[in-house]
């Protein structure tokens, strides 16, 4: 059965590109456009991995992770942070909250995102 990846990202174009790339590699892809929706999708769709943006409307990435940590089931899902700013303070905080990996949008191509996803839940 194909592994399921949830992408939580408010930037439509990045969402679309990632979805396309991951699907082509054979992943099932779930989409959420803000933190709140992301948490809902996690509970409903039980993904194997979450790609999580930080700056989002309604609930930001940090708040999403805090909520995940309160839930014994969600806590187990690996998270990769997709950060816009890439500031060390931000990365540090995400790591403290349990993020497995992180990437900075302007420094990565979808190709590299794919590598990171493979590394976590490789086929």
């Amino acid at each position: 059965m194909a592994k399921k990846v949830l992408i939580v990202e408010d930037e439509e174009i990045l969402l679309g590109l990632l979805q396309k790339r991951l699907k082509r590699e054979g992943y099932d892809v779930l989409l959420a456009r803000n933190g709140e929706e992301g948490l809902k999708m996690m509970r409903k769709g039980s993904p194997d991995l979450v790609l999580l943006d930080i700056v989002m409307p309604k609930m930001n990435g940090f708040q999403v992770m805090e909520e995940m940590n309160k839930d014994n089931q969600l806590k187990k899902i690996p998270v990769i942070i997709i950060s816009n700013s890439g500031q060390p303070v931000e990365i540090d905080k995400a790591q403290r909250l349990g993020a497995r990996d992180w990437l900075i949008k302007t420094e990565f191509d979808p190709e590299e995102v794919l590598k990171k996803v493979d590394k976590q839940i490789g086929k």
Binding site: L14, L18, V89, D109
Partner: protein, 447 residues
């Protein structure tokens, strides 16, 4: 007449002789008296003469003296007149000085900067009204106190602390509270090389700071906002170039690659601007840890091997002879500083030129340098080289691309690590950029 007569006659004679004798005696006495008198008279006359002579002498002397006195009086009068003149002048000068003094005091009192004057014993001798206003004290309350004594006043405590730490002459920013940021400057007051006191100037920079922060925040927000669409473009182009959206012709690929490269440049520019904004916000250096500078250098060099070969530049890395001690660094930032210096060397060195990177220990420092045989920097522009947005005129002629931020960022990174950065350069011959970092400093870094 007989005997009787005879007797009579001798009697008479005897009586006559006796009388004569008596008279003679009398005359002698008179004569003696007279002589005595004459003597006395002569003595008196003589005395009188002496007196007269003395009197005459005295009179002459007095005349001379009177003349002298008259002369002196005249002189005195002249002197008095002159003195009066001088006094008048002095009076005028004094009036003028007083006027000047009042004017100066008025200027000091009405200065928009706060001013505290300390005497040669470092005790407060003057406080203007602006300083009273800023610090919330009256001059009378603190007159004659020393700076350390002033630490008891809450608003003066940070300033007193500064004076203690920095010594007598400095210029520092002090944030007293959210709505009051001061630039505090102290200077010595000297007269003919002798210290007669010191000045503490309080310059209110709250407004400037607010504007500066707004500007920095604007740059920061704008840069962040720019990054999102730039990421979208990068990712789209990346996927199209990887032929994820279907096969491309060579021409399409070439154009898309150029577009991709332009976008990369834009991303770099935005990143540079963000770095500058963070430097100015004072939150740039992050958690320094012990690192091996040789390794960091090697990593930066490795990622530039391709471009060095493509430009046909001779390259050499002179590694240190001994193993360098590890020093506390923000590895990412130091890499960036090295990268900025190395990229400049490569960019401004024509094909066939040479770039040499060297790393060595110098006493309590590690010194990095990158030497090139490039276009160099005109002498008169070297002092501005490390300022924001500055680019050498010959550099602009050679390469229109470039933000003028690289060296500014590098300088800030190095100085935040308590290091120094400098350049030696000659136009058309080449440049050597150096930086040195102290070994074994574990004290806090500037954030």
């Amino acid at each position: 007449m007989g005997e009787k007569q005879e007797g009579f006659k001798s009697k008479e004679l005897r009586r006559g002789a006796k009388r004569l004798l008596q008279r003679d005696l009398e005359l002698t006495r008179v004569r003696e008296e007279l002589e005595q008198k004459i003597k006395e008279l002569e003595a008196a006359k003589e005395r009188e003469m002496v007196l007269r002579i003395r009197e005459i002498a005295k009179a002459t002397d007095i005349k001379r003296k009177v003349e002298e006195l008259e002369k002196k009086t005249k002189e005195l009068k002249d002197a008095r007149r002159a003195l009066l003149n001088i006094l008048e002048d002095v009076d005028e000068a004094r009036k003028k000085a007083e006027e000047e003094r009042n004017k100066t005091l008025a200027i000091i009192a009405n200065l928009t900067d706060g001013l505290l004057v300390f005497d040669s014993d470092n005790r407060i001798s003057l406080v203007n009204s602006r300083a009273e206003e800023i610090l919330g004290v009256r001059f009378e309350e603190i007159e004659g106190e020393s700076i350390s004594g002033l630490g008891r006043l809450p608003l003066l405590r940070p300033i007193a602390q500064l004076v203690k730490e920095k010594g007598r002459v400095f210029r520092e920013e002090v944030k007293l509270h959210e709505n009051l940021i001061l630039e505090v400057t102290t200077t010595l007051i000297t007269r003919e090389k002798e210290k007669i006191g010191s000045l503490l100037v309080l310059h209110d920079i709250t407004r400037e700071k607010r504007i500066e922060r707004m500007k920095t925040e604007f740059v920061s927000v704008a840069a962040h906002q720019l990054r999102t669409p730039l990421s979208a473009i990068k990712w789209s182009l990346g996927m199209i170039l990887a032929e994820d959206m279907g096969p491309l012709t060579e021409e399409q690929k070439a154009f898309l690659q150029k577009t991709y490269n332009s976008n990369e440049r834009m991303i770099n520019l935005v990143n540079d601007l963000l770095d500058v904004a963070r430097i100015e916000e004072g939150r740039y250096i992050y958690k320094p840890v012990f690192c091996d500078l040789t390794k960091i250098c090697q990593a930066v060099i490795n990622s530039h091997k391709a471009i060095i070969n493509r430009k046909k530049i001779k390259f050499e890395f002179k590694k240190p002879k001994e193993k360098l001690p590890q020093i506390k660094l923000d590895e990412e930032k130091i890499s960036l500083a090295i990268q900025n210096l190395l990229e400049n060397a490569i960019r401004y060195t024509p094909p066939g030129g040479k770039v040499v990177v060297s790393l060595k220990r110098k006493k309590r420092e590690i010194e990095f340098s990158v030497k090139d045989t490039g276009i160099g920097i005109p002498k008169e522009q070297q002092s501005r080289l490390f300022t924001k947005f500055f680019r050498g005129t010959n550099a602009v002629r050679m390469e229109t691309e470039g933000t003028g931020l690289g060296l500014f960022i590098a300088k800030n990174i190095i100085e935040s690590h308590r290091g120094r950065i400098w350049v030696e350069s000659e136009e058309n011959k080449g440049s050597v950029f150096h930086f040195s970092l102290p070994i074994g400093l574990t004290s806090s870094y500037r954030k």
